[in-house]
């Protein structure tokens, strides 16, 4: 376990928690299923997946 591993580990968890990694996952999946047409751009992607809010805490 190097410092670099630690850093990339921390980055991975942060991106997962914040949901930032969603675009990369989308790209990978798009490449597998629809290699024939180009994927959405970063901006298009984030606009398309605006989540509706749900009732939360008390």
């Amino acid at each position: 376990m190097t410092v670099r591993d630690l850093f990339s580990g921390a980055r991975w968890w942060l991106r997962e928690f914040s949901g930032e990694s969603a675009y990369d996952k989308y790209l990978a999946r798009h490449r597998r299923h629809h290699p024939d047409h180009p994927p959405m751009s970063r901006q298009e992607f984030w606009r398309s997946r605006e989540r509706e809010v749900t009732t939360g805490c008390c």
Partner: protein, 790 residues
């Protein structure tokens, strides 16, 4: 790159026997297996001993010097035992997770709401969604009864009630494609019961919002520093939203970090604003804040989410984690001594200045979140069930997430009870009760000096401190030369206000300011000293306010959609969310619903927390009763009658608590307690005052008449409706038992093709299976680069 056969050869025959494979030979789960080794037995013996020691220190040894660290020890050890043994028992008895069955996330896997999410990440999201201001406010208010009743209820309640409810609702919703509580109620107990449940939950949500908003208003009223820093979050969130939309889409982590840093700057600079020429601009009266709150709620609900809601949620999550971590570190490092006795006289009489009512039932409705909270059933049947990867993970997410929230409540209680009792009561007694306690002579003599009135009121409370002496406000601070001085009485109250940078701390009801003083009182001892107290106080206030504002706009928005849908049955056009007049109208109705109740609470002559908080607690616990009823019916219909006591015990207790509390609120002849007795008394007083020509008193009494009428009516409606839901459920249970009706509303089994570990930390075998799945599994389901290796 390893081939499937390579990976398979790594297992020993015993390990292979523990792996569950689907019809294609793909691993989808591991059989739970307990290999008791001597060191595991020893570990659990040690955990049990630590727990026993913690409880003994809190409940039996007591003495004059109880350390708050024992709260942490008792809580953590008890949680560990409950999670390992009771939650596992419940899982095996009534959940029986089947990892060969695909979860909704795996079935639909659309990369949006149905998204198989790493279990640790989902645990974090679920916890962030259920933990709000509730677990922090309730324990602070309940501290008037002493530290022991609250601690016992938070820890025991969560084990058998709150965590069980959360876990079972999550599991049953997951088995039904992530259906909501209202939909499940309709499926399980029939359309009428379901419709009543949906409507009543909606009304209760409005009460919950009004009370949460009132806590926020009470914390920010007459506090320029607080108002400025909280107001800053709005432009800050909008800036973050714009940046994420147009400049760096998706750069959530970086933008959140920068936003959080700017938030800290806003808190720090609040002092200069408050003390500078702009101070008056941010010095707002409670009713002004109500107006701003309503305007804000309206716009937050009608604007697109990316403008305000989503970025503010990022900030709020940061503050949440920040405050909880700071508080935990503070309690462990500073280990403050408890100032509150184990049990006070307010546990058995109805004279409590914070809220009226005896321990049973009012302790159990005052501390809702942290022990049992109906609101969690919304989250557990909302986003979370659609994201679970494997059925066997539900225990960790549902039960574990609620244990975390309970732990937050324990820490809030520890912070509140380590505060001097005189200061605690001075902060939490409403102005009206204070005048009554201090007596007219003192009030007249003090001539508007609230600190003097408060000091006299505290002397007349009739409670003793942990040493058996009369309670007096006492506060250690530094004088100009930096030497430590102890202030007492009114002086102490003034010094607290100076130290935290507020104009006054007297009658700052609602729990948030008390908790903030408690947190500042602990954290300044290890970070920053007295000079930093103001910062820590406003850091805590910011955290509470952000939570509450998030809840206000999120619930307003959701309620608006529910209302549009309901109106849509009559006027179809309302169903179209892009039709602006419809959106605005339904939002306005929702905002008016909670806004009017908020205004009523804030202007209540007897103190809004005193009068409205019980209604909030009852509403929240009645939602829990509805959730537990639905769960009970599902357990019976599933054929697990033998284990029906698992949801039935918390349900029975919750029904006893809420119905007794509602009964007392409706029928009690004690004017401190019964809404209708207060109503009659106030009506008499109003007529007497009008006859005597005292218009001011008549006006005040007229307010009380109106408020108690509304509160009393709501109490009756809640009680009748929930009784009706439980009645419908009982009929359904009887019918099921009589006919042996085997139909279930669960989705049919569908073979899973996915593997992920069950617990927080994977076992050696689970790691091997993760490696195998990475080679043979469905690429759409294989998690990212790091897999699930921890």
């Amino acid at each position: 790159m390893s081939t499937p056969t390579d990976v398979r050869q790594q297992y020993t025959p015993e390990e292979e026997a523990d792996i569950i494979r689907n019809s294609h030979g793909v691993p989808v789960g591991t059989r739970p297996h307990t290999h008791w080794t001597w060191w595991k037995v020893l570990l659990w013996v040690l955990i049990s001993l630590a727990g026993a020691l913690g409880w003994a220190m809190l409940a039996i040894v007591r003495g004059e010097q109880v350390n708050t660290i024992w709260f942490v020890v008792a809580a953590v050890a008890t949680y560990a035992i409950a999670y390992r043994f009771y939650a596992l028992f419940v899982q095996r008895a009534v959940m029986r997770p089947d990892d060969t069955n695909a979860t909704p996330a795996e079935r639909i896997n659309n990369g949006r709401d149905f998204d198989p999410t790493n279990r640790v990440v989902l645990f974090g999201h679920h916890f962030a969604a259920i933990a709000g201001a509730g677990p922090l406010v309730g324990p602070v208010l309940a501290a008037q009864m002493g530290y022991l009743p609250g601690t016992l209820w938070i820890i025991v309640g969560v084990l058998v009630a709150g965590a069980v409810q959360d876990m079972l609702v999550l599991f049953f919703s997951m088995r039904r494609g992530g259906r909501s509580l209202g939909q499940m109620a309709a499926d399980e107990i029939g359309r009428i019961g379901g419709a009543i449940a949906t409507v009543i939950v909606f009304v209760m949500l409005m009460i919950v919002l009004a009370v949460l908003a009132m806590v926020c208003v009470n914390a920010l009223a007459d506090s320029p520093w607080g108002v400025f820093s909280v107001a800053c979050t709005i432009p800050l969130a909008i800036a973050m939203g714009l940046w994420l939309r147009y400049v760096q889409p998706g750069a959530i982590t970086v933008v959140s970090f920068v936003g959080f840093a700017l938030l800290i700057v806003a808190i720090v600079s609040g002092r200069w604003i408050a003390e500078g020429p702009l101070g008056d601009l941010f010095h707002l009266a409670p009713t002004t804040l109500v107006v701003w709150m309503v305007v804000y709620g309206f716009f937050a609900a009608v604007l697109p989410v990316w403008v305000l809601l989503t970025p503010r949620d990022y900030l709020s999550t940061f503050m949440k984690i920040g405050t909880i971590v700071v508080l935990a570190i503070g309690i462990v490092i500073v280990r403050p001594i408890v100032e509150m006795p184990a049990v006070t006289a307010f546990a058995t009489n109805t004279d409590g200045p914070v809220f009226a009512g005896t321990l049973f039932p009012f302790l159990f409705i005052t501390i809702a979140c942290g022990a049992l909270s109906g609101m969690h059933a919304m989250v557990s049947s909302g986003t979370t069930p659609k994201m679970v990867q494997k059925e066997s993970q539900v225990r960790m997410i549902g039960y574990g997430g609620m244990l975390m929230e309970s732990f937050v409540a324990v820490m809030a209680l520890a912070a509140a009870v380590s505060l001097n009792q005189g200061i605690y009561f001075a902060m939490n007694t409403s102005a009206a009760s204070m005048n009554t306690l201090a007596g007219p002579a003192v009030v007249q003599q003090a001539a508007g000096d609230r600190e003097e009135v408060a000091a006299a009121a505290v002397r007349n409370l009739g409670v003793t401190d942990a040493h058996g002496d009369p309670v007096e406000a006492r506060w250690e601070s530094l004088d100009a030369a930096g030497t430590e001085v102890t202030h007492t009485g009114a002086d102490a109250l003034r010094q607290v206000a100076r130290d935290v940078g507020e104009p006054s701390i007297v009658s700052r009801t609602g729990g948030a300011p008390t908790l903030a003083v408690g947190i500042a009182n602990i954290t300044h001892q290890f970070a920053g000293g007295k000079a930093m107290m103001g910062f820590w106080y406003h850091f805590a206030i910011m955290f509470e306010a952000l939570f509450i504002l998030s809840a206000v706009d999120a619930v307003t928005r959701v309620a608006r959609f529910q209302l549009s849908d309901a109106i849509g049955n009559l006027v179809p056009r309302f169903r179209d969310p892009s039709w602006l007049p419809g959106a605005w109208l339904s939002t306005a109705v929702v905002v008016a619903a909670w806004g009017s109740m908020l205004l009523m609470g804030v202007t209540d002559p007897r103190g809004g927390i005193q009068t409205l908080y019980p209604l909030f607690g009852i509403a929240n616990q009645l939602i829990a009763a509805v959730a537990l009823t639905v769960v009970t019916v599902m357990v019976v219909r599933k054929g697990y009658l033998k284990y029906v006591w698992i949801p039935l015990i918390p349900l029975a207790f919750d029904v006893a608590v809420t119905f007794t509390a509602s009964w007392q609120k409706i029928f009690s002849t004690d004017p401190a307690l019964g809404y209708w007795t207060q109503w009659r008394v106030a009506r008499g007083a109003r007529e007497a005052a009008s006859a005597a020509g005292d218009a001011a008193t008549a006006g005040v009494q007229a307010d009380i008449v109106r408020n108690t009428f509304i509160q009393g009516t709501l109490s009756i409606i809640f009680l009748v409706c929930v009784a009706a839901v439980i009645g419908c459920a009982a009929l359904r249970v009887i019918r099921t038992l009589r006919t042996g009706d085997p139909t279930t509303s669960e989705d049919p089994h569908r073979e899973s093709n996915f593997y992920a570990p069950s617990g927080m930390i994977p076992t050696a075998l689970e790691n091997k299976v993760v490696a195998e799945y990475a080679a043979v599994g469905d690429p759409d389901l294989i998690p990212g680069r790091r897999h699930d290796r921890s």
